[in-house]
């Protein structure tokens, strides 16, 4: 029993980092552009398809395929931001509806190109680590490592570099930041592209673990938004923690409770936390 719980704790943490990478994109986009971009889920799906196509279709080595897919998705995110989301800045509902429209468009295009048949990439790194009865697939460990590095890098970039501090200042107070010389438009476009890239990277790594269908984005964006809100939107390390909390809640929850309610465990957590800390777990009270 202990092995089961420890195993799922570990697995929940790993699965949670995939939620966290989306949550991070959600949090950054929200902080800088004032909208919640649900299309990040679709970007993630697209990232998975691109990686699979580059790797299995064109024969590019997997790590390079992930990098290429990430860059491609960053571009997609940038274009979407300039063509669509530029007009919905700071309007939550309009941004939400446009992003839902964009999801439909992306899914339609993917269906036209790759059909509804699920795609499966070759095994990049098969096999498992066994530590005292606890089993962790090797690839999952790698995915966790990469995502953790990216999240830490993002955190460092936001706190240690001028661009990061500018973004942070902007999220706190747009007017003041603009007066301080932050170029709002460049900053917003940059963050939109970076958030998309995070989603694309998440998709690229996802492709090495699971099968790919046009619907995968929907589940991940919901978990991502849940994670971002759980933590208190705006906090980088909070998104990370939020993703892990949801991942662990699902993993450990389905051991003790019926697995059919798997999606509920994270939600219950979310509701409870919001009731006791309405601005999220790690938020500094705004009032």
């Amino acid at each position: 029993m202990l092995q089961l719980v420890v195993g799922q704790l570990l697995n929940g943490v790993i699965v949670g980092t995939l939620y966290a990478i989306i949550a991070l994109g959600v949090t950054l986009t929200f902080g800088i552009t004032g909208i919640v971009n649900f299309a990040l889920g679709a970007f993630m799906m697209l990232g998975a398809y691109f990686t699979w196509y580059f790797s299995d279709g064109l024969g590019i080595p997997y790590p390079l395929a992930v990098v290429l897919a990430t860059l491609a998705i960053a571009l997609v995110g940038l274009v979407a931001d300039q063509v669509l989301f530029r007009f919905t800045r700071n309007n939550l509902i309009n941004g939400l509806i446009v992003s839902i429209g964009l999801i439909s468009v992306i899914v339609a295009i993917v269906l036209m190109v790759w059909t509804t048949t699920p795609q499966n990439m070759h095994y990049v790194l098969p096999g498992v680590f066994r530590v005292g009865g606890v089993i962790v697939p090797k690839m999952k460990a790698v995915v966790f490592g990469v995502l953790l590095l990216v999240i830490l890098f993002t955190y460092a970039a936001l706190t240690r570099t001028w661009a990061g501090r500018a973004a942070y200042a902007y999220a706190q107070n747009p007017e003041a930041a603009a007066l301080m010389g932050v170029r709002t438009k460049v900053l917003q476009a940059g963050v939109a592209a970076y958030s998309a890239a995070l989603a694309g990277l998440g998709g690229g790594l996802y492709a090495s673990l699971y099968s790919i269908t046009p619907e995968i984005g929907a589940g991940y964006i919901l978990k991502g938004v849940e994670a971002a809100i759980l933590a208190g939107i705006g906090s980088v390390m909070g998104s990370f923690a939020g993703g892990i909390i949801i991942g662990v809640a699902e993993g450990v929850g389905s051991i003790f409770l019926p697995s059919a309610y798997n999606d509920a465990y994270g939600l219950v957590f979310l509701v409870l936390i919001l009731l006791f800390k309405p601005a999220g777990l790690f938020a500094v009270s705004s009032r």
Binding site: M1, L4, G7, Q8, N11, G12, V15, V107, L111, T115, T116, T117, P118, N120, Y123, P126, V128, I135, P137, L209, Y210, S211, T213, E215, I216, A218, G219, E250, G251, V252, G253, S254, I255, P258, S259, A260, N262, D263
Partner: protein, 394 residues
């Protein structure tokens, strides 16, 4: 601003034109319309989408060959296949349009139980006016009831004497299995399957454990770990490739290496051939083998590649639905020829039940209107060694 105005105008204009198109709906004498009520998009579209793939090829082939002759008159086929999105409301409107506007008398579908239930009430009101030839397991329970003459069940799924449920359990029993754990998606078909096998396993004296997952799940490791702790002999996993690849990979990582009654394709088995021990699949037709031994199958594979301009034939899903639905169209045409009418659905139904169609499949319908079909049990062992058992239900 000007361009925005014109976009809206264009959209408005096309709406208007399309509205006119729906209002007319001319009925041509020499065209037999075939409808299809299936989900083409959405989370549960696999079966619907595959079926329409096969039907489109058949309709195209028949029309290119100049149509077919019934009672001295030449007819061509027209396929009407809107997208239900798995939504009963859309399906109901679509079925009404087919029956009342397009005067369609032959409707294929649906595979989805919720869609079938959504249209059932309306369809019954039109009993005798058309045939509904669907694959939903729920239809099995409706066949032969009074007022249900319109129903024909394509596909023999798990349930009933001509279904493969009992045969599959028998196959497993021969292997000396004591305990099976099911991991099924929590949807309508999942529950129908559980209902069928709960009883079948009880009769066979095999312990049966039920576990459910939400459609859309990708990481099964938690529930698989829980299952693995109970050490079952075989795992009975979900029913589409979209979930099977993930379940099989993650199960083998946890040491669950024997799978039973896997539908869909051999893809997951072959991809994991070094990690599995046994993988018993229900395959309506093992295409990789049949392609070599049966010229008709080879021809179908080539026709498919040409029609959809693809190099890769989807062995994983195509054979399951598209090939049988391809046959269904041909068989229906054959029945119309035998009945000597394209309008009298009662006669066509009788004709349909009177012969065995020898196409890609050997298909016949029993007296209740349920399809009886041959199928293959494909047993994949470690390393990819394959044994095929050909079954022909009575």
């Amino acid at each position: 601003m000007k361009s925005r105005v014109s976009i809206v105008k264009a959209v408005a204009a096309s709406l208007g034109v399309a509205a006119l198109a729906v209002a007319t709906g001319a009925y041509s004498q020499n065209v037999v319309k075939i409808g299809e009520i299936e989900a083409q998009t959405g989370a549960l579209n696999t079966y619907g989408w595959m079926s329409s793939q096969g039907m489109r090829i058949a309709v195209d082939e028949i029309n290119k060959a100049g149509g077919f002759e019934v009672a001295g008159k030449k007819y061509t086929l027209q396929l009407i296949n809107p997208d239900t999105q798995g939504n009963p409301q859309q399906a109901l409107i679509q079925l009404k349009t087919m029956i009342e506007e397009d005067k369609v008398k032959y409707v294929f579908g649906p595979f989805l139980t919720n869609v079938f239930k959504g249209i059932e009430g309306y369809a019954r009101q039109h009993n005798g006016q058309f045939l509904l030839m669907g694959g939903a397991t729920q239809i099995h329970y409706e066949l032969g009831k009074p007022g249900n003459d319109y129903l024909v069940r394509t596909w023999n799924w798990d349930a009933g004497p001509s279904g493969f449920g009992t045969l599959m359990v028998d196959y497993l029993k021969k292997k000396g299995v004591k305990k099976v754990a099911m991991l099924m998606q929590n949807d309508a078909f999942g529950h129908v399957a559980a209902d069928v096998y709960r009883d079948a396993f009880k009769k066979a004296g095999i312990e049966f454990q039920e576990n459910w997952f939400e459609p859309g799940t990708k990481d099964y490791s938690a529930v698989l770990a829980k299952i693995s702790a109970g050490s079952p002999d075989y795992l009975f996993p979900g029913y589409t490739d979209a979930v099977l690849y993930d379940i099989v990979q993650q199960a083998t990582q946890l040491g669950l290496t024997k799978f039973w009654l896997v539908r869909g394709s051999l893809g997951p088995a072959l991809k994991n051939k070094d990690y599995i021990d046994d993988y018993v699949a229900y395959i309506p037709k093992y295409f990789e083998e049949a392609e070599k031994s049966e010229p008709k199958v080879k021809k179908f594979v080539e026709a498919y590649k040409a029609f959809y301009k693809t190099k890769d034939f989807p062995y994983d899903q195509a054979p399951l639905c598209s090939s049988s639905c391809y046959d269904h169209v041909y068989m229906l045409v054959e029945a119309m020829k035998k009945a000597g009418t394209v309008d009298d659905v009662a006669k066509v139904k009788n004709a349909l039940e009177s012969f065995t169609y020898d196409g890609l499949w050997k298909i016949r319908y029993d007296q209740t209107g349920e399809e009886v079909i041959n199928f293959d049990i494909v047993d994949v062992q470690k390393g990819g060694k394959i044994t095929v058992t050909h079954e022909q239900p009575r």
